[in-house]
């Protein structure tokens, strides 16, 4: 595995492989000293052109637990502000010996562009509306772990997963959809028609505009963050109206089956898509998602740098 830029790039086989390795990493994380020397001497550079707390910290923690060195390239204080091109920046940092770039950028496709300019591996930590593969991987892992399933190409078969919210502009939705359905789950996108993808005929997915209809019959309710900036584009009349139809409150949640899982990629908009405190229900797997994120990202870095399927020349 050279890059992890999208779910389709690594394929179901790659997904399963990473999930298997992640399980081992979870065991490492539960040891008295949750640190192993596997990636000692390798450098992981995080390159975030867009705000992020949890993803960046999660990657840096993952890298450190594998004993890699981490460099946090802060765009706001960099020479990019002096007019240095992205290409020059990448070439400069890779000349300093970066083994992996973890990239987040508001423009779709930037991770592919960057891999033209460096020999280092690229992990896409979110590009525009396009992809956020490690989020999808940790979500698959969380569902698997909560259901007591083993990683395999069909391990989510028979599960129905609702992705609720703005799936049209969501890289998380896109990646999760591919990953969940790649592992055999049935995915339904729920949201107002203006926020559903315009054409889903080529995807193996169904859509619904009624959260209340979907809730009683799904195994996982995956709430997306309502991006307030979408309001400016007049795609939802107002947030209160959105919340009334698609926000999750206690009454709505009580209509789910007792084993239905509640998930959210964070950060949560309390009072918009989440009208109640999810920590009040044991069905919430939101904290698990954060914890498993570290194991899964360790697995991704390990697969890229140490799995040994390519002998270094």
């Amino acid at each position: 595995m050279k890059h992890v830029r999208s779910i389709s790039e690594i394929g179901t086989e790659g997904v399963v492989r990473i999930l298997r390795t992640a399980r081992h990493m979870e065991a490492v994380n539960s040891r008295p000293v949750p640190k192993v020397p596997a990636l000692v001497g390798r450098t992981v550079v995080s390159l975030f052109f867009e705000d992020s707390t949890r993803t960046r910290i999660s990657f840096e923690t993952a890298a450190r637990r594998l004993s890699a060195d981490t460099v946090n390239f802060s765009v706001s204080t960099s020479s990019l502000n002096k007019g240095e091109s992205l290409r020059d920046t990448i070439e400069t940092v890779s000349a300093m010996g970066a083994a992996v770039f973890v990239v987040r950028h508001r423009t779709s496709g930037v991770p592919w562009q960057i891999s033209e300019w460096t020999d280092a591996s690229i992990v896409n930590a979110g590009d525009g509306w396009h992809q956020h593969p490690t989020q999808a991987l940790l979500d698959c892992y969380t569902v698997m772990a909560r259901r007591g399933l083993d990683p395999s190409p069909e391990c989510l078969a028979g599960l129905r997963i609702a992705i609720v919210g703005d799936s049209r502009h969501s890289r998380v939705a896109r990646s999760c959809l591919e990953a969940f359905s790649g592992l055999g789950a049935e995915v339904v996108l729920v949201g107002p028609a203006t926020l559903l993808p315009p054409d889903t005929t080529s995807w193996t997915v169904s859509t619904s505009t009624s959260l209340d209809d979907v809730l009683p019959e799904v195994d996982v309710v995956y709430m997306l963050r309502m991006q307030r900036e979408r309001m400016n584009e007049a795609l939802v009349p107002d947030l209160a109206e959105y919340s009334r139809r698609f926000g999750l409150d206690e009454t709505r949640w009580s209509r789910t089956r007792p084993d239905t899982l509640l998930m959210h990629p964070g950060p949560m908009n309390r009072g918009v898509e989440m009208m109640f405190d999810p920590s009040s229900t044991t069905q919430s797997a939101i904290i698990d998602q954060v914890t498993h994120g570290i194991s899964v990202r360790m697995a991704v870095l390990f697969e890229l740098l140490a799995s040994g399927d390519e002998v270094p020349s």
Partner: protein, 184 residues
């Protein structure tokens, strides 16, 4: 080294070096050596290396308990993330580490099936450090096949087996088999 008469017809390249009962006898001898050398079993902890050493450590624990009458603490250690050849060969960590007690002050006996380059044992010594500071670490192996690349020597040996590097040594409950690797 004797050729297994039951084996010759099927595969000329496989040699049965130890049979199942030879293995049991070696295990009994090693158990007595462990008790003699440690003057009993006080503070002794068995650690089997994933994966070949784990079932051997279970066998050894059973034999020691039969001789001494007391159960011996036993754990399992996976060293794949501590290896020095990470990235040089395929590594798929899947096995688990399970160390039931703090190893500080313990007499740890590391058990593996085959001792070859010594690199696995080196990784195991590193990994053990995270579970405390043992008073002593000893090494028990069923087969010492030579070709060491590090200054590591076993304390208890089932069988010394001179090999060439194009041979594989397979240790299982059925015994020890020396197999010439197919040249492709």
């Amino acid at each position: 080294m004797t050729r297994d008469p039951g084996d010759t017809g099927t595969n000329d390249e496989s040699v049965h070096v130890l049979r199942s009962d030879d293995l049991d006898r070696a295990m009994t001898r090693i158990s007595h050596e462990i008790i003699e050398r440690n003057r009993g079993l006080d503070g002794v902890v068995l650690i089997g290396l994933q994966r070949g050493g784990v079932w051997l450590s279970e066998r050894l624990a059973t034999t020691l308990e039969r001789i001494d009458g007391r159960p011996v603490p036993r754990g399992e250690l996976d060293v794949s993330l501590f290896r020095d050849d990470i990235g040089l060969r395929p590594v798929t960590p899947v096995a688990v580490t399970r160390i039931p007690i703090d190893l500080t002050g313990a007499r740890v006996i590391v058990i593996d099936d085959v001792l070859y380059t010594g690199r696995t044992v080196r990784a195991a010594l590193d990994a053990l450090h995270q579970y405390g500071r043992p008073a002593q670490v000893q090494l028990a192996v069923m087969v010492d096949r030579g070709h060491r690349e590090l200054p590591i020597r076993p304390d208890y040996i089932g069988k010394n087996l001179p090999t060439s590097s194009d041979e594989d040594v397979v240790v299982s409950p059925e015994g020890v088999v020396l197999r010439r690797r197919a040249t492709t």
